[in-house]
Subunit: 326 residues, 2 copies
């Protein structure tokens, strides 16, 4: 819990901070924000992350000093592990032997840390880093503000998602007061795509269609589309939400060809339609409104099958709702 | 100014509130928020707007009680005119004879009101309505909170634009505390499109291309695309920003055919590239990073001309920047 984290920081001197592989805005923003906080308290601190930092986060203060995983060695008093469900997620060897501080806002992870500070009411770990700064009597510097604002913006989908609370917005306000620039930070995330994303989007969007109920949309990405557009990892992030933004669409099936006859499928839904349950039947998983799975075989048949399951689910739900009203 | 507005509300009893035609989230949200505030103070108040309320705003509390323009008559003590540059913008006859209160956050409009309260530091008129509520000692009810949150979200592009300040986010936080639900309000705006928008988007996006510098993107909408997709007004809002989200794209030319050989053009840019100046040369206008104009003639030629002007502008700017650094 928080008081243990404060005590540990006050007692020790040298800290490493890490987050999960394929780090996102909350993982990196919170890690860098914590690093700046520790340094402002006169501590030694390094952020250590496996793999490349995505372009959206390269302008964050301190991003150019992120260390490679080989840098972790016995010289740290403790390692902060940010937003990880278990000790394997950072992809760093030797963590099991270290004093670790598990900081997360998901309640579903392992309690793997020497200290575990889990706050599922926080919209992002960034919000927790802000609270830590306040609890320890630190000052929100411009660097901390910029990093933590990035964490909030990305994990709340620009304050769109239902995890956005009055506290999230209050913290965001304090961060802007301390020097974070909303337009610059949002721009780094949302105006920082390679052109290949646009090329891929036009091709994928050209396959979009609705089923006969008008409530389920489907969309495809072929291997050839990726080649033609020179797409890189991450280029198709968010595509699945484009048809979901239509008023009458309740669910989306987005299939990506990973090799001939093999497809990665993203399912999205609105409201009470539970796509995680459907994904689980196919060996996949996820949340109620966002899930993933893999299927093999004939593309048209597999797509029709998934669209059919979803449209029957929607129909059943609507019948249930209608019955409730009677 | 604010004190005069407070005094007028305290002295008078019956108020009308209006905003510009083709009302947006700030115009409608602020008008409805003010209406709820006046009612909570025991006053009589009606919102009167010309034309249809767009779908995104129909779920706002009070939206179903918005009056048609024919409803304005002599019985109001004063008329609030929200976010209008002049007294013609609401499209309502008889306003010139009324006591009017001009409330706006743009400093470029006429001082047409009996009272003029203009605050260019406010991100949205919604922020001013919140300040009015506080100044007059009102309580932020759930209804006021929902309407004003809509105003903030739409006028700041979900807290993306550079008009987002720490005060904007502080007010947003207070509104959420008072009952506004960020996910519901954002969903009403961003997940409320007709399917025709998706159909139009796929067609328009299929025309996107870059010039040889890789810095200017262009895109087209033909009359036929509108017909084929069954598009309605507003369906193409935001399309111009899709290519602008690519890292290397500095400017976008988006041409829409309004009749054979006649095109409405949207220009967008990043940073210091001033598209308003370019638009003005063609009889159009706008802001530094967003402007519009109309051209006639051969589509390819007109497009090439505009793309050429923009790419030369970008080149000149980059040379200037390089010279500054030397």
């Amino acid at each position: 819990m928080l008081s243990q984290v404060v005590e540990l920081i006050e007692k020790k001197k040298a800290f490493a901070i890490t987050t999960h592989i394929k780090p996102d805005g909350d993982g990196l923003g919170s890690s860098l924000g914590l690093c700046w906080l520790l340094k402002s308290l006169g501590k030694d601190a390094d952020v250590i992350v496996r793999g490349e930092v995505p372009p959206a986060y390269r302008e964050l203060p301190g991003a150019d000093q992120i260390r490679d995983v080989s840098y972790l060695n016995g010289k740290y008093d403790a390692v902060f592990v940010i937003e990880c469900s278990d000790l394997e997620r950072p992809g760093i060897e030797g963590l099991a032997d270290a004093v670790t501080v598990n900081i997360d806002h998901h309640s579903t992870g392992d309690q793997f840390g020497t200290i575990n500070w889990i706050d599922p009411t926080a919209s992002a770990v960034g919000e927790m880093i802000y609270n830590l700064c306040k609890a320890i009597g630190g000052r929100i510097t411009k660097e901390i503000a910029e990093c933590v604002y990035m964490a909030l913006v990305t994990d709340t989908g620009s304050f769109h998602y239902s995890n956005t609370t009055d506290r999230t917005l209050k913290v965001a306000s304090e961060l802007v007061k301390a020097g974070a620039k909303p337009a610059e930070i949002s721009g780094a995330v949302y105006n920082n795509y390679p052109w290949s994303r646009i090329e891929l989007m036009r091709r994928v969007l050209d396959t979009v269609k609705r089923d006969e109920t008008g409530k389920v949309a489907s969309m495809r990405q072929t291997l050839r589309m990726r080649q033609e557009s020179g797409a890189i990892d991450g280029d198709n992030n968010g595509f699945v939400n484009i048809p979901l933004a239509a008023r009458d669409i309740v669910a989306v099936v987005y299939m990506r060809e990973i090799e001939a006859g093999k497809y990665r499928v993203s399912l999205r839904s609105k409201g009470s339609i539970n796509v995680a349950k459907i994904a689980e039947k196919f060996g996949g998983g996820g949340h109620r409104n966002a899930a993933g799975l893999q299927v093999e075989g004939d593309w048209d048949l597999r797509e029709a099958e998934l669209v059919g399951i979803l449209s029957r689910e929607i129909e059943a739900q609507e019948e249930g709702d209608a019955a409730d009203k009677r």
